[in-house]
């Protein structure tokens, strides 16, 4: 950790020497382990440390960014010099610059992001988690005849950030995921499905046997799926598919979609955009949360931002740039995924639990579809128009009856959020974005 901080401070000093007016640098280091197992045998085993340095410099109102995996001093020094050269050739941008100096840089609580016991888990044990999950799936039913495999991944990530305003911070976190993907076969063909558990702490992981059994239940119920006729009926999204709706909502409230006017939620702050029971937050301070962090990738302290309160749109999410552009304050959502250019990222972005169990929701539907998987990219964030391939289970008189596939569901995201009729009590976190079971009044299914 100290070594990352030292490198970060060296880069800032080098940039200053090159005459920058401001700069910031972020260094990431990930220790990763992953194993995939298939039909009881190890298929791949991978272990490595990967590092990345992300630099941003300002010359007055001009900026340039760079990134490198080569952290040798000569390579880093050369890149700093080249980045400053590049900045001379970009345009002046009035909204550019580091986060304002007035933003506090001290409020960094311990968010319980590290579980030191992962280190005590020997490679043999890690492998056995994947083996046990797959075994539980394969032995659940004789229709489960094959497997895409089962995998276990574990990472320990460290982040250090420094800027020319004197900020120097660092934090670390552990995380792990266990996946199982069985295949079932019947006269009606083959089907796949999966289940996965993910957490920062071992105690929050589901057991390998539970993961395997759930994966088995999920694939078995898809056997002998058929198409249904084109119709308009109520749709119940399970927590995994509901989560994808929250993903689209996140894209639509990200500050860069707002200033570009490329979102269906432009100019809608203070307006009712969803059913009155819907409350959505972006909460970076959730203890042990997979998306939790003390500060964002620009050094802005993170916070809890209300997005939708009782159906009313309250806030967009901002980096320093998008906040300045739209005359507001950054929300601690600056993200430097990949290239180093700051965009907007979610922390723990989720729809708050409602009062119904998933069973109550399903039993409220006389004639509808319970959606368990969505595929494709048919979502237009500019207009909210929505059309995706779906796999589901038919709901008839409050009961799940038979599986359905090769259909699409279509509508418009704004109407879909307004038409949410019931919210489940089962928010399921598998990453930064999460949702409970959701029932939407009606959508068009295109089928036979």
């Amino acid at each position: 950790m100290q070594q990352l901080k030292d490198t970060a401070e060296h880069v800032i000093a080098r940039a200053k020497k090159n005459g920058v007016t401001a700069a910031d640098v972020m260094i990431r280091e990930d220790d990763t382990f992953s194993v995939t197992v298939r039909m009881g045998e190890v298929e791949t085993l991978k272990e490595a440390v990967s590092r990345g340095l992300l630099l941003r410099v300002f010359l007055g109102k001009r900026t340039a960014t760079s990134n490198t995996s080569d952290l040798s001093q000569a390579a880093v020094d050369r890149l700093v010099d080249e980045t400053v050269q590049m900045a001379r050739l970009t345009s002046e941008d009035d909204s550019g610059g580091l986060p304002a100096e007035s933003i506090p840089r001290t409020d960094f609580p311990n968010l319980d992001l590290v579980d030191p016991t992962w280190e005590q888990l020997a490679p043999e044990e890690r492998i056995s988690w994947a083996v046990r999950a797959e075994k539980a799936a394969l032995s659940a039913d004789k229709a489960i005849v094959n497997s895409e495999g089962s995998s276990f991944e574990q990472a320990h990530s460290r982040v250090a950030l420094a800027n020319t305003l004197g900020f120097a911070g660092a934090y670390e976190g552990t995380s792990a995921g266990l996946f199982c993907g069985p295949i079932a076969e019947s006269g009606g063909g083959k089907q796949r499905d999966y289940w996965v558990t993910a957490a920062r702490h071992r105690k929050n992981m589901e057991s390998p046997e539970d993961v395997g059994r759930k994966a088995a239940q999920r694939v078995l119920r898809r056997l002998d799926a058929r198409k249904i006729a084109t119709c308009q009926i109520p749709i119940v999204f399970d927590p995994l598919t509901a989560r994808s709706l929250l993903n689209h909502l996140f894209d639509a409230v990200a500050g860069n979609s707002i200033y570009r006017r490329s979102s269906f939620l432009v100019d809608k702050i203070g307006q009712t955009i969803a059913a009155p029971e819907i409350t959505v937050v972006d909460d970076a301070r959730l203890p042990g949360g997979l998306g939790s962090a003390p500060f964002d990738d620009e050094g802005v302290p993170t916070q809890t931002t209300p997005i939708i309160e009782n159906g009313v749109l309250r806030n967009y999410l901002h980096s320093a740039y998008t906040a300045r552009k739209l005359g507001t304050r950054p929300t601690g959502n600056g993200s430097r995924a990949g290239s180093g250019v700051v965009t907007i990222g979610p922390t723990n972005f989720y729809l708050k639990a409602g009062k119904y169990s998933p069973e109550e929701i399903i039993s409220s539907v006389k004639d509808g579809l319970y959606v368990v998987e969505l595929i494709g990219f048919g979502v237009n964030t500019v207009t909210g128009d929505y059309s995706r391939g779906a796999v589901g289970l038919r709901i008839e008189n409050g009961k799940l009856t038979y599986p359905v596939h090769e259909i699409t569901i279509a509508g418009n995201l704004l109407e879909m959020f307004k038409n949410v009729e019931m919210i489940g009590n089962d928010v399921t976190f598998l990453g930064s974005i999460a949702a409970p079971t959701l029932k939407i009044g009606k959508m068009v299914i295109s089928g036979e």
Binding site: V49, R388, G389, I407, T408, S446
Partner: protein, 479 residues
């Protein structure tokens, strides 16, 4: 400067020797194992974004590292190092070696450097050496053309990306080869606004070459005008129909149909494991006789082309479907050994951090005999789809989707109203049996394809002549 006959940057700049490669491979096989390889990669990326008529960002990225793979039976051990220092590579080799424990006598490897069988992208200046001002000029030209197209165009984002990728591959069966792989791409995104309604348009293009890629059909003005045209067109789009109907796909990028419906399902790993809907169908009829589909990694300057794949094997033209009959699979080294087939040059990986897998290169259908106008005239009621967003497939059930971003109704043989974006869904092993006409107008896409599999993304190409499909489900909202 000849880009492929020079010595590799790894020998010249990083002082890697053939002797070093032998030592690392020996270490990789120190616990036994059938095979080991090294994948050295040095990648330089640049990007420039022009938005709101100013150059908002300029970025340079460097990625340097080496991946070590050890194969023992069906098992693969993998590790990588982002330092090319000897001790770090040896440590990665020992980590990867952990997978094998069949012997302890240590591997002894002798390396013979191989010549390339083809040279598909020899260019005078590699993208890494291009001047940023030239790139900014392209973006400015695109911005101006998009705004000049229509006053309702309110936002234009023009972006340029390039990549200069050096790879060096050495294998324990005694081969080493290297390549220098250039790539450029230009994208233009427009937002049109009228009476509070907003729509977007997108167009991009590029290939494995320098800035000379951006002339003719790929000139900044043509790309920008096309992007603006789509955004304006969508302002008057009507709801897409819902239900099964006759569909005509336009030439070029709609070839994404082949990529999703059959390409992924024919990747050898899924078939070796019996998890694909195409498993066991070689020699069977899976398409109408009008359909011949190939995957060809040897097309000069194409985005999906490579001199050698990421396992050092020369790329090929592989016939996947000939006159409707399934011919074979796309192979990487591991699957070809286990299936006792020849490698087809389709072993690809995202970077040195990733294990190679069977992947597509440029996947397209050969031209047929029909005139495209006649195909449209023959449809009484249907959909004509010419531009697509992305697609996805469930390998096991064979169900696939691809999302039209520009489509029109066909009514009584005539193209009429534009419709809003809609997802089309079908069944991979049967959709091509429904092909009732194939046009004489084969076109390859403009060089924008990105394919994702198991979390790894790689550049690919697709292509298609105009085709007619008797029935496919269109996922609109208008019943």
């Amino acid at each position: 400067m000849e880009t492929t006959n020079n010595k590799s940057v790894f020998f010249e700049k990083y002082n890697v020797t053939t002797r070093d490669l032998e030592t690392y491979l020996g270490e990789a096989l120190s616990r036994g194992g059938d095979y080991a390889d090294l994948f050295f990669e040095y990648r330089i990326n640049h990007s420039v974004v022009l938005e709101e008529q100013i150059v908002k960002s300029a970025t340079k990225g460097i990625s340097l590292g080496v991946g070590v793979r050890v194969v023992s039976g069906e098992k693969t051990g993998y590790a990588y190092s982002d330092s090319l220092e000897r001790e770090h590579i040896l440590k990665a080799a020992r980590t990867a070696a952990f997978i094998a424990n069949t012997s302890s006598e240590g591997g002894r490897v002798g390396i013979q450097p191989l010549e390339h069988t083809h040279n598909l992208y020899s260019i005078p200046v590699v993208p890494a050496d291009l001047e940023i001002m030239e790139k900014i000029a392209l973006l400015t030209e695109a911005d101006q053309a998009a705004r000049a197209y229509d006053s309702r165009i309110k936002q234009v984002q023009a972006s340029y990306i390039d990549e200069t990728k050096h790879v060096l591959i050495a294998t324990s069966d005694g081969r080493s080869t290297w390549d220098l792989q250039p790539m450029v791409r230009l994208n233009v995104m427009c937002i049109a606004e009228e009476n509070g309604q907003r729509q977007s348009g997108y167009q991009g293009g590029g290939g494995r070459r320098g800035l000379d890629a951006f002339t003719g059909d790929l000139s900044p003005a043509v790309l920008a005008t096309e992007s603006a045209r789509q955004a304006i067109l969508q302002l008057r789009a009507v709801d897409a129909p819902a239900g099964p109907m006759e569909v005509v796909l336009g030439p070029g990028w709609p070839g994404i149909l082949l990529h999703e419906a059959i390409g992924h399902g024919l990747e050898a790993d899924f078939n070796r494991k019996g998890t694909s809907a195409f498993s066991g169908l070689v020699g069977k009829k899976v398409a109408s006789e009008l359909c011949t589909v190939v995957d060809d990694g040897t097309l000069p300057y194409r985005r999906g082309s490579l001199n050698v794949d990421d396992e050092g094997n020369p790329t090929h033209e592989t016939v996947l479907i000939e006159k409707g009959v399934l011919q074979g699979y796309l192979q990487d080294r591991l699957s070809s050994k286990l299936m006792k087939a020849a490698p087809s040059g389709n072993g690809r990986r995202q970077s040195y951090e990733h294990i190679p897998m069977p992947r597509m290169t440029n996947t397209f259908m050969l031209a047929g005999e029909s005139a495209p106008e006649d195909i449209i005239k023959s449809v009484r009621r249907g959909l004509y789809a010419v531009h697509f967003g992305g697609g996805q497939v469930d390998i096991t059930s064979g169900k696939f989707v691809f999302s039209a971003s520009e489509a029109y109704l066909i009514e009584d043989g005539k193209i009429t109203s534009p419709v809003k974006g809609a997802t089309l869904i079908g069944d991979g092993p049967t959709v091509l049996r429904q092909v009732t006409a194939v046009g004489n107008d084969l076109k390859l896409d403009q060089g924008v394809g990105i394919c994702g599999k198991d979390g790894q993304t790689i550049p690919v190409g697709v292509g298609l002549p105009t085709i007619k499909i008797r029935e496919i489900t269109v996922g609109g909202t208008n019943r």
